[in-house]
């Protein structure tokens, strides 16, 4: 603007000078003044010209910068790995970069002018066109996915970003596209899905297998627990530190009180000589500390209630993965076994004594006879009589021992049956051969019965009735039976014989109830009765008062006969 103004001004001044010169003789002063004016204008013009040159240089520099920048973007456009495309609104390709060339498998010169839709997989073209319509209606950035096909029909999935090209504010004149092949990504995704599904399937399989194993384990555990509970053996399992972690019902019954750990149990036990154990010396501790297996040691347990039991104990270490994991302690109450063993030994001693006496009598009588008495008829008859009586005694003893052996054999499995009492008592009266003037009576309800073994009960009663008949010289013998407490039945043989002295009665009681060595002189009759009664499911009791008589009683399990 400044330049234009200065040139106009110079032109006007030059015109006015020329006009003045054109009018005739120039006035030299006026001419000078005009030339001076021109000169000053030319000077001004030179300043303006310099300014113009400077501005031009600046513009050229700016242009060079823009050009460099444009080339940089052009390079970016051309060489970027993604496909860049510029299309018109119908997606006809106007420009394409190298990435597009590679992605679509088509040289750039064939791309330009071609509709992008021709590179969309046929099944996807309808969707592609719908999208184009949407874009024209609502020009906005869009990010979507389409399946394309490069030349040669190779399909690939691509991520597509579309942004509208806006000209002068509002008119949408074209579209820019960025197309990225996501096939590999898709494949990875698909692979990931597969792996995921595989993983889920495996987890499921494992879960099923685990549940089956768990169910199996629970079933085994239930079996194990049942066995453990039902076993007639006490079982304790202790941890490596000695705490009791498993105990069965029998263990609780036998121990009779809380036994929290190995040390508490050790304190209750005594060895075969009745001594307490020092640390680490008893079976469970040996199993725990030195992995020793102990089998069948007999120890005494002193319970909290001072009751003593003989226990046969076994113990063994438990290992898991070759490491100590505690120990198991098994124990069985052998008190009754041992008492029975003891009683049987005593019985044999007594039986031997009983046999020795008649044998000694017979041997003596034979010696006397051989020593000359055989030639003296009256003396000979006396000693032959002795031999006969003692032989009878031996025969009775032998039979009694046989019966007893049978009774004890039955003890293992007493076969109990419903036995009416009255008929048996009536039969037994036939066996009695009472002394003159001794009355024999039966007192029993007809329907009274017991759960017992008929044979054994009869043997026991027969023995008692035999004693009563032998020793009762006057009065009566009564066979009596009655129910007691609705639970048991007492069958009694009551005599009015000489009775037992308190001392004898004590001997009888000790001999057959607890086992005593001081029972010499007593016959085996009561022993047979006691054993047979026990084998028949009952027990023998003796009440006796010296000079007034004896009551022998067998107590059995009650039953009643009911008429149907």
């Amino acid at each position: 603007v400044t330049t234009a103004f200065s040139v106009d001004q110079l032109a006007r001044e030059l015109e006015s000078v020329l006009t003045r010169l054109d009018g005739g003789t120039p006035d030299p002063d006026a001419l000078l003044s005009a030339l001076a004016g021109l000169r000053s204008s030319v000077d001004e013009l030179r300043v303006v010209e310099e300014e113009l040159v400077r501005q031009h240089d600046e513009l050229a520099e700016a242009h060079a910068q823009i050009d460099a920048e444009r080339r940089r973007y052009e390079d970016l456009f051309a060489l970027a790995p993604d496909a860049f495309l510029v299309t018109d609104l119908d997606a006809k390709i106007l420009e394409a970069n190298l990435g597009a060339e590679q992605l679509l498998g088509t040289p750039r010169r064939f791309l330009e002018g071609k509709p992008l839709a021709t590179f969309v997989a046929p099944a996807w073209r309808r969707g592609f066109r719908t999208m184009l319509i949407d874009v024209r209606r609502h020009p906005d950035r869009i990010r979507t996915q389409h399946r394309f096909e490069r030349r040669g029909g190779i399909a690939f999935d691509a991520d597509v970003s579309i942004s509208p090209i806006v000209d002068r504010g509002t008119d949408v004149v074209g579209l820019r596209w960025v197309v990225t092949d996501v096939t590999e990504q898709k494949q990875n995704e698909a692979r990931l899905w597969e792996l995921n599904a595989e993983l889920e399937r495996r987890v499921e399989e494992r879960a099923v297998a685990f549940e089956a194993a768990h169910a199996e384990l629970m079933r085994e555990r239930a079996q194990f627990e049942t066995v453990l509970r039902q076993l007639p053996v006490g079982i304790l399992v202790v941890s490596p530190s000695g705490n009791v972690i498993v105990r069965n019902r029998r263990a609780e019954e036998l121990l009779g009180g809380p036994v929290p750990d190995s040390a508490a149990l050790a304190a209750r036990l005594r060895d075969a000589d009745g001594r307490t154990f020092v640390d680490g010396d008893w079976p469970l501790a040996r199993a725990l500390e030195s992995s020793e297996v102990v089998s069948g040691e007999v120890l005494t347990l002193v319970r909290a209630d001072s009751h003593r039991l003989l226990l046969e104990v076994s113990s063994a270490p438990i290992t898991r993965d070759d490491l100590p994991a505690g120990a198991v302690f098994l124990f069985r109450d052998v008190t009754a076994d041992r008492q029975r063993d003891f009683a049987q030994r005593e019985f044999v001693v007594n039986a031997a004594h009983e046999l020795r006496t008649p044998l000694a009598s017979i041997v003596s009588a034979i010696e006397v006879l051989q020593g000359g008495a055989k030639n003296d008829p009256p003396t000979r008859d006396v000693f032959l009589g002795h031999i006969e009586r003692e032989s009878d005694r031996l025969v009775r003893l032998a039979r009694a021992l046989l019966l007893l052996a049978r009774a004890q054999a039955h003890e293992e499995e007493p076969r109990l049956e419903l036995v009416p009492i009255r008929p048996m008592l009536d039969e037994l009266t036939e066996e009695i051969n009472p002394a003159a003037g001794v009355a024999v009576q039966v007192a029993c309800e007809d329907e009274l019965a017991a759960l017992t073994s008929a044979e054994l009960l009869r043997q026991a009663l027969s023995s008692l009735v035999g004693n009563a008949g032998r020793y009762t010289g006057h009065g009566s013998i009564t066979l009596r039976a009655e129910a007691r407490n609705g639970q048991s039945v007492a069958v009694e043989v009551v005599d009015t014989g000489p009775g037992l002295s308190p001392h004898d009665r004590e001997l009888v009681t000790r001999r057959f109830v607890r086992g005593s060595q001081q029972s010499e002189g007593f016959g085996l009759g009561l022993a047979i009765a006691a054993e047979a009664a026990r084998a028949a499911g009952g027990r023998l009791e003796i009440d006796s008062e010296e000079g007034r008589g004896t009551t022998a009683r067998i107590v059995l399990q009650l039953a009643r006969l009911v008429d149907v």
Partner: protein, 31 residues
């Protein structure tokens, strides 16, 4: 006079046997 012996035993057979033997040896026996 012969010496007297008292024989005591609860088994009659033994008592008789011992008594007989003692009498044979010349003792007077009481049972």
């Amino acid at each position: 006079m012969n010496e007297r012996v008292l024989v005591v035993d609860d088994e009659p057979a033994l008592r008789d046997a011992v008594s007989y033997s003692l009498r044979s040896e010349g003792y007077e026996v009481t049972t």
